[in-house]
Symmetry: C2
Subunit: 372 residues, 2 copies
């Protein structure tokens, strides 16, 4: 682990993703996923250029600006690829409690599994996630999704010493919500399963000292629904908040691993804050049960998000998808008391606001109390 | 062809989809796609039920309502399957100029290609398309997308005898826009490439005499983002307009085949109306050129839709995806004059309005004139 880290990261041993050899293979596969970004993205672009050059001369003459636009897209891909490289430098030492072979510095990583197309395209989501969590362009999304959670925490724990209030953020993504909580002085742990996210949050939280240090081109992979060509190549700077601004002595950490398997200690947390998280489960009741168990009596669960049910239509994946009314009943049957509830909270998630298509979620926001 | 048909349907010989043996294989494959709806949908449901029954008893007890909801979903699938059967009865005789083997009535269709999962799931889109085009629930979508086109036609051809105004609707889908034009007395032809759509539009336009004759459950395949369980099993009746209400003597037809290959006759149409169509091309300029050529001098092209570019991210498919500003320049360079133009027209496409996720398009509406 880098000695100047702001946020300690740990591999949690009970997470099955991180066990033994398999863990090591997975680690290297994710590194290779970042490395595959450049060739994969350039191949996609080349296919378009080739088809364009096969069109009738009369059509090509009408598309000269499009041809030059594709050159701009290529330059943006190259700049994103440079960032990807920076993200994976030193990840072999990002966890305090384990060290991996450093593929970037000559260790043998040849036997790593090759990422698939689907894997590689997850790096496109990472770029958009950076916009949502760590750029000025993401302010509106964060205001609607994170602010009600932050308000709730500040109201409910107003009479407590902040450093003595322990808050867990499962599905922490790139760590911004956890950071926003920790920077106020609360004891906060983000938990994330995806190494793709963890590599990037490690880069942001531990390597960025200052604001607007890096530039990405998050929308270049969206070839469709562009009103203007310049929309596709728009630059976005990050981070908009200084990750190293966390007050000295704050207890802020990131834990890698599966939420259900890591948080088996009972009555441990004052608050669990879930944002766009509960629908990432195979069995949402297993999440609810884990939250119920790990909360202290009197502890609160704050939730914001839709019910997209991540595994709903994936082949070979188990999934149940109860509607909100049914899920709500199940939550109450654990013993939770519903202290606040709001449906139809309209919000976006990694939305390109200039695009000719937007996805709007009608989220649920609720606060549940585990009785004392 | 059914002798009581309202709308004559023809296979256009120049469409490569419909040539010789390949045409016949494709025809039977699409019939099999409809037939695969029931087993495919029930398998998906059974997977959920099996996983549910493998969960801990304590979780299952909390999900009894969910279990009974899945039974409701099963009943809805059965009822949709009955409709699918009705759609494919007699399709072997739906085209005036060709007859296919009738698989439903004992002809040998064994050698037909089996539909893939992706094919089968296109039947889910057909259900949603019925809602958009032929149900009262689709009124708002049609008001925003179709009404500006209809208004434009009525304004621009106000001083002409309607039956002498010839209007072409490429990408006609289930034929509602073409019907809305024809029912006013204009000479109208809908053109559609997809047999899946053509089978269903044939069923609606030629077999339905009256309104609200059939019931479908269009949202049962959307297992996620349901606020209430009843939202998933909502019934929708169709058609909301009587397809047989077209005035006697109206020249209204549907033509099957590829737009670019069918409409090679020059200076033939007074108006081409495209709605959510131009982005279904590999090369959008080939569409623009075909529209330019087939319009009479002084003819008008009315367009509504986004630039989703159907083939943009499909493996093994060619595609160019110029942004609107670049496409606009290309359109003008053919010689078109832009008579009206509006961007950022917010609209939906087969949207389930009760869902916790909605897709909003920011469409372009424009009217172009081919100078006299």
């Amino acid at each position: 682990m880098d000695e100047q880290c702001n946020v300690c990261a740990n591999i949690c041993e009970s997470g099955d993703q991180f066990e033994d050899t398999q863990e090591s293979i997975h680690f290297r596969k994710v590194i290779n996923t970042y490395r595959s970004y450049r060739p994969h993205s350039l191949r996609r672009l080349a296919r378009t250029s080739e088809y364009l050059s096969s069109l009738p001369e009369s059509h090509r003459q009408k598309l000269l600006k499009y041809q030059s636009h594709l050159e701009d897209v290529r330059n943006c891909i190259e700049q994103n690829a440079t960032l990807m490289k920076e993200i994976i430098v030193d990840v072999s030492r990002m966890f305090e409690n384990i060290e991996y072979p450093n593929c970037e510095k000559g260790d043998n990583c040849r036997n790593a599994v090759r990422p698939t197309t689907v894997d590689t395209e997850k790096t496109y989501s990472v770029l958009k996630q950076i916009v949502r969590e760590w750029s000025a362009d993401g302010i509106n999304e964060r205001k609607i999704c994170f602010q009600p959670i932050l308000n709730e925490i500040n109201e409910r724990f107003a009479d407590r010493v902040k450093s003595e209030v322990s808050i867990l953020v499962p599905g922490a993504g790139l760590g911004r919500l956890a950071y926003d909580i920790a920077v106020q002085g609360y004891t906060c742990q983000g938990n994330e399963y995806s190494l793709l996210m963890l590599f990037t949050s490690n880069f942001i939280l531990n390597k960025c000292k200052g604001t607007d240090l890096f530039t990405i081109y998050p929308w270049i992979h969206q070839y469709h629904n562009n009103l203007f060509a310049v929309d596709q190549i728009k630059a976005v700077k990050f981070p908009d908040a200084d990750p190293s601004a966390i007050p000295a002595g704050t207890n802020f950490s990131m834990a890698a691993g599966s939420f259900i398997e890591v948080y088996t200690n009972k009555n441990k947390w004052d608050c669990v804050a879930t944002c766009f998280f509960i629908d990432t489960s195979h069995n949402v009741l297993a999440y609810v049960e884990t939250i119920w168990n790990c909360l202290k009596p009197g502890g609160i669960w704050i939730n914001f998000g839709p019910l997209l049910y991540h595994f709903a239509d994936m082949p070979n994946e188990n999934s149940i998808e109860p509607s909100y009314d049914i899920l709500r009943e199940a939550i109450l049957s654990f013993g939770f008391e519903m202290a606040k509830e709001q449906t139809d909270v309209r919000c976006h998630y990694t939305q390109n606001f200039r695009a000719m298509l937007s996805y709007e979620y009608r989220s649920v926001f609720f606060v549940c109390i585990k009785p004392s």
